[in-house]
């Protein structure tokens, strides 16, 4: 098992957002958590990423208890709902961000960026400003950026929201393929069951 979430709860004041949630994600597979909006899906991902502290519960990643580990030391990648590309960096530098943090040398950074942008089908926009990208291209850059540092687990927060149906379906297929090609362990949250079926290997319904 790569990611083990055990009895995680999260309260916001009096309000219970998550209650005793448990889930296991096997190495190299994608698990989808499907639930309607407002049911705490994004909260779950933010807890796994370390952006929120759970009220109770334990998170184990590759046999290491990371419940209290700061986000930047967890080795998790995350694709945000609205991409959150760094507006002051071009496509290449967005993808290179996590690699620079890990102090990789420039030649390796360039080749890894090239490899990932080719993988997501954006080899030719490397030096473009992110402001010039279409919605679909932005999603692909966000995915390449999150995959670049080879995280132990990739978290996908409604990654295909806001795209038209045709693009949505194409990207869902591509995403499934890319996650398999890179043998990535991924946790996807979505409200869309059909999307979950295309992208993931197993589905968990959140009550």
């Amino acid at each position: 098992m790569s990611l083990i979430i055990t009895d995680v709860s999260f309260n916001y004041g009096e309000r219970i957002i998550l209650h005793d949630f448990s889930l296991e994600v096997t190495t190299g597979t994608t698990t989808a958590v499907v639930a309607p909006s407002g049911s705490g899906k994004s909260t779950l991902l933010r807890i796994v990423a370390g952006l929120l502290k759970p009220t109770t519960g334990i998170i184990i990643l590759d046999e290491r208890n990371i419940t209290h580990t700061p986000t930047h030391q967890r080795s998790v990648g995350m694709v945000f709902q609205d991409n959150q590309l760094f507006p002051h960096l071009n496509v290449h530098d967005n993808v290179a961000f996590g690699l620079k943090v890990s102090k990789m040398n420039q030649r390796d950074i360039n080749s890894r960026c090239h490899e990932l942008l080719e993988l997501v089908g954006l080899g030719d926009v490397m030096r473009q400003s992110v402001a010039t990208l279409s919605g679909g291209e932005s999603k692909r850059v966000a995915l390449a950026r999150a995959l670049a540092p080879s995280p132990r687990v990739l978290l996908l927060d409604e990654p295909l929201t806001g795209l038209d149906q045709e693009l949505h379906d194409r990207l869902a297929q591509d995403l499934h393929q890319i996650l398999h090609l890179t043998n990535t362990t991924a946790l996807l949250v979505t409200h869309d069951l059909s999307e979950a079926k295309v992208i993931s290997d197993s589905i968990h319904h959140l009550q």
Binding site: R46, A49, G50, L51, P70, T71, H72, Q73, R74, S75, V76, G77, M78, F80, D82, Q84, F86, P87, H88, F97, G98, K100, V101, S102, S129, A131, R145, A146, P149, P151, L155
Partner: protein, 516 residues
């Protein structure tokens, strides 16, 4: 309902700027061009010293302002905490406080060993200019999405790395703008230096005044003034070129309701103390002569006690200051708001006119004062002796503030609202009275308060044009600190207390929303 061309609304503002800045600056420049010797002045040691001191004290002041201003800005623009509104009000007030009175406040606060030192000047400059950093960088940092920072964390970036690679680069152009503006304010500092400066601590503006008024070397002063103007224009040109390359658009975010951590809380308390302590020390100092408590300063100020060598008519000075500031605000407000209607319409002619109206703010008041002294000193313009000239200059200096306060408000009034009023039968005057003016109320009150405050504290240009029988409070304060003895000093402190409190009350009386 909108006029095809709104440019005519800008005419009064343009005339004001022409009279108060453009014509005098042209005449000043022409006097330099026709002058014989523009080189030898630079070999004078006092000029060289002033140039070097202006530059390095401005660099130090800018560095301290940015160091204190950036963390202050980050916490103010990201966190919602108890006392935030009060803090924002403090930030707003410090920027418009009269420079000579603030100089006096730092004399009262700092130990004697630091009086008339570079350190005192640098600290006082930071007191004023932190506001520029908060105002310029704050909106930019407020618009940085929290999730962008979350995203950087998930990519392995530590807090320090996030500052280096996300927060500072996203604020870069605003930080550079605020640094350039702070440098300009400190380089052309005059009121602060008049009080806290001393031998070897004179800026170029002080040297210009000394040459023009004390040495009678008008042509030397004019050469320095034009050189300073060109230097500042070059800095602003380079700065504005840098700004146009920015492509990123920003949306403001709601403030983080999370509790402010203890470290930032202590830092902000320290900055608040830095803002308040000089004023408290000033009040205490006004109640002392030498080592004992005494009301002598206040008695002399209020005319209840005569002091040899001090002949001040406080009532007259207050009347003069009030008269000038009311006239200045009375001119700047309608002129500025009318011009705002022109500038809210993005025609290229309006953009150029808009740049022109910033001119009085982009030129040092000392240079404006000198230019006016030279320009209006001969027929047919011999109205230098007219008292009306000072409030006209003040109104031109206040004009950019009025326009800045009014522009977002005017741009925010939907044209459909005017159309709706018209379809309901309202004529132009009724629309003005029942739609435009009520909606403009926050801009009117902010513009009015800032114009009053600017005029009350204006010292640079006024010091060139003032007459013995019509001295304003800042002029009287500077005069008192130029005299030896404990009682003149206590009287100067008391007058500074009056000026600071009046200015603060005026600015704080404005609707809180206008500055928070």
């Amino acid at each position: 309902m909108r006029l095809r061309s709104t440019s005519p609304f800008a005419i009064p503002a343009v005339i004001l700027v022409l009279i108060a800045a453009v014509i005098p600056l042209i005449v000043l420049s022409a006097s330099v061009i026709s002058g014989a010797d523009v080189v030898s002045i630079w070999s004078k040691s006092s000029v060289q010293r002033a140039l070097i001191f202006s530059t390095w004290q401005a660099l130090l002041s800018t560095a301290l302002t940015i160091c204190l201003g950036l963390p202050t800005t980050w916490f103010l623009s990201r966190y919602d905490f108890f006392g935030r509104q009060v803090f924002m009000a403090l930030v707003t007030v410090t920027f418009v406080l009269p420079t000579v009175a603030v100089g006096a406040a730092f004399l009262a606060l700092l130990p004697k060993g630091l009086h008339h030192s570079t350190m005192a000047i640098v600290i006082a400059h930071a007191f004023f200019n932190i506001s520029i950093v908060v105002r310029t960088v704050g909106p930019r940092w407020n618009s940085v999405d929290d999730r962008l920072i979350d995203c950087a964390q998930t990519l392995g970036a530590s807090p320090l790395h996030i500052w280096k690679s996300i927060i500072l680069p996203l604020g870069k152009s605003a930080i550079l703008s605020s640094a350039a503006l702070t440098f300009f304010m400190c380089f052309t500092s005059y009121g602060i230096i008049s009080i806290l400066g001393g031998p070897g601590l004179a800026t170029l503006d002080i040297e210009i005044y000394r040459r023009a008024v004390q040495l009678g070397d008008l042509s030397g002063a004019a050469i320095l003034a034009v050189a300073q103007m060109l230097l500042i224009a070059t800095i602003f040109f380079i700065w504005s070129r840098g700004r146009t390359s920015e492509l990123i658009s920003f949306r403001s975010q709601t403030l983080n309701p999370q509790k402010l951590p203890l470290g930032p809380k202590c830092f902000l308390l320290g900055v608040a103390a830095f803002f308040v302590a000089p004023v408290l020390a000033l009040i205490a100092s006004s109640l002392r002569t030498g080592r004992s408590w005494s009301l002598a300063g206040w008695r002399v100020l209020l005319g209840m006690q005569n002091q040899k060598g001090i002949e001040i008519d406080t009532w007259q000075a207050l009347q003069t200051s009030a008269k000038y500031s009311l006239i200045a605000a009375g001119i700047a407000l309608p002129t500025g708001i009318a011009a705002t209607y022109a500038f809210s319409n993005r025609q290229s002619a309006n953009r150029q006119l808009s740049t022109l109206t910033i001119l009085p703010l982009a030129i040092s008041p000392v240079v404006i004062g000198l230019a006016i002294l030279i320009t209006y000193d001969f027929d047919p313009f011999d109205f230098r002796s007219s008292w009306l000239l000072i409030p006209i200059i003040h109104s031109a200096i206040a004009l950019p503030f009025v326009i800045r306060a009014a522009l977002p408000v005017v741009q925010g009034i939907p044209n459909d609202l005017r159309l709706a009023a018209a379809t309901l039968g309202a004529g132009p005057w009724r629309r003005l009275l029942t739609v435009e003016i009520p909606l403009l109320r926050p801009a009117i009150s902010t513009g009015f308060a800032f114009s009053l405050a600017m005029s009350l504290g204006e010292f640079g240009a006024t010091s060139f044009l003032t007459r013995r029988e019509s001295r304003t409070l800042p002029i009287i304060i500077a005069g008192l600190f130029g005299r030896a003895g404990e009682i003149p000093r206590a009287t100067g402190m008391a007058a500074s207390v009056v000026l600071i409190l009046v200015t603060a009350m005026i600015v704080l009386s404005v609707d809180r929303k206008s500055y928070s």
